[in-house]
């Protein structure tokens, strides 16, 4: 088969299909192994219900589900984590502990893969990210421990409320491409939070600087705690704060936000990793599926109708938030 005739999305989709088939064959091959006896349940700890579904079905479904999620996330302009955690915890049989662990790894992997390109093109600014990252990553550790210590139903309730808030934020927030910053404040000046980038769309050199730096940095305390607590990633909050509050151009805000996730989510991810909340059987297909979906999503971006998809995602977030709230209330 000549691959030259195929467009890139088709090639990626074929690659994904090949991956799924490879997984299915590998899983089938190992299906004949005999299940060894597991340690008997002790001290009240007990196994979950047997759904009767073969073990390899869930990772396969998750891979496909996350592939679609990756496409939708790019088209809607949101991070994968913010869709992954509420939807997977709402509609899959995994405990919230593991969904948050996998959610952080999903957001982290996406940010790490995107980071180099954004840094090289100067859409992500290391100078802008460093102070913000120090605050957010320290607070993400606190958030992660808080999320692990609180009862699951309380975390579910908070998650539901947060998801609903994010949906409303997406609905009402109007980011500005080039916010007007008349005077750089003293803190911004001291931290060197200014720079320039070449905008390929206009061919212009865009100079930028920030203002309202202190309130902006203080907001990253809350953002860090929430990112760690729910495993959501935090692009939904980073962008409005960097753009609307601190006055960074939209491209710098989006690029720096994505890069920031690679730092903030790292600290929280370590907490979840050390606690045993990352199960490779479910986390890895989630990461791979979402990344492949993101590549296809980027290619489809030119043809898609982002406004419709954005409203669809807001609807899905409201639904997922409502489900998380109901789970938290035990309904």
């Amino acid at each position: 088969m000549k691959m030259d005739h195929l467009r890139l999305p088709a090639k990626i989709a074929l690659f994904a299909l090949f991956g799924v088939l490879l997984f299915a064959v590998a899983a089938y091959a190992s299906g004949n192994e005999t299940a060894s006896a597991m340690a008997a349940a002790t001290d009240g700890a007990h196994l979950g219900p047997d759904t009767g579904v073969a073990w390899w079905v869930w990772p396969l479904v998750l891979l496909f589900f996350c592939f679609i999620l990756g496409i939708i996330a790019v088209l809607a302009g949101v991070g994968g984590g913010v869709l992954y955690v509420p939807l997977v915890s709402g509609f899959f049989p995994f405990h919230l502990d593991f969904v948050r662990g996998a959610g952080l790894m999903v957001a982290l992997a996406g940010a790490l893969a995107a980071g180099p390109g954004l840094l090289k093109r100067n859409f992500a600014s290391l100078r802008l990210a460093m102070p913000v990252a120090l605050i957010a990553s320290s607070c993400a550790i606190v958030g992660a421990y808080l999320g692990m210590a609180l009862p699951t139903n309380v975390v579910q309730l908070c998650l539901g409320g947060t998801i609903m808030f994010i949906a409303i934020l997406l609905l009402v927030s109007k980011n500005t491409a080039h916010p007007v910053v008349t005077k750089q404040d003293a803190l911004s000046l001291a931290l060197g939070m200014d720079g320039a980038y070449h905008d390929p769309a206009t061919g212009e050199l865009v100079q930028w600087k920030t203002h309202r730096t202190l309130p902006g940095l203080l907001l990253f305390i809350v953002i860090g705690v929430m990112a760690g607590m729910f495993g959501l990633g935090a692009g939904w909050a980073n962008v409005p704060v960097l753009n609307l509050m601190m006055g960074a151009p939209l491209k710098v805000a989006v690029g720096t936000s994505k890069f920031l996730l690679s730092i903030t989510d790292t600290s929280a991810a370590w907490v979840y990793l050390n606690k045993g909340c990352v199960i490779p059987l479910m986390a890895i297909p989630s990461i791979i599926g979402l990344m492949l979906g993101s590549f296809v999503g980027v290619r489809l971006l030119a043809k898609a109708k982002p406004t419709f998809i954005r409203y669809m995602v807001i609807g899905v977030l409201l639904l997922a938030g409502g489900k998380a709230l109901m789970k938290g209330l035990g309904i």
Partner: protein, 142 residues
Amino acid sequence: MSEQLKHNGKASPAQITYANMLFYGAWSGLGIMVITYLLYVSGLISPHVPLKEIPLLWSQPVNTYLEIGNVPHGWGWTALIAKGDFLNFVGIVLLASMTLVCYIPLIPSLMKRGEKGMALMAFAEVLVLALAASGLVNGGGH
């Protein structure tokens, strides 16, 4: 960072170094993860927790998974690296370590340019990430 470099739209050398390290580290981590995962699910390397038992555990809180699955927490997985499920942590840990690794060269680079405040900030970030990775700070669990 020189004012001229900062305002000509080009990324600073430190930012480029960071980007290059991140590129190779992140894609290596993802590649390793795919390979170890296929080795794991194909049964070529036997797992510590049998594959068929995991669906009975992932619906339960993490403490149940650790207790019944006899799964170590913290860095205890390194002792089980020969097992298919824990071999996957090589790629995962590489991904989770990349930010820390990329931050280290920033410290001397910033010091050399006389930016002691920023260098201190980079050092503090390394400490925060190292503390999180060490597992020394202990908290609750479900």
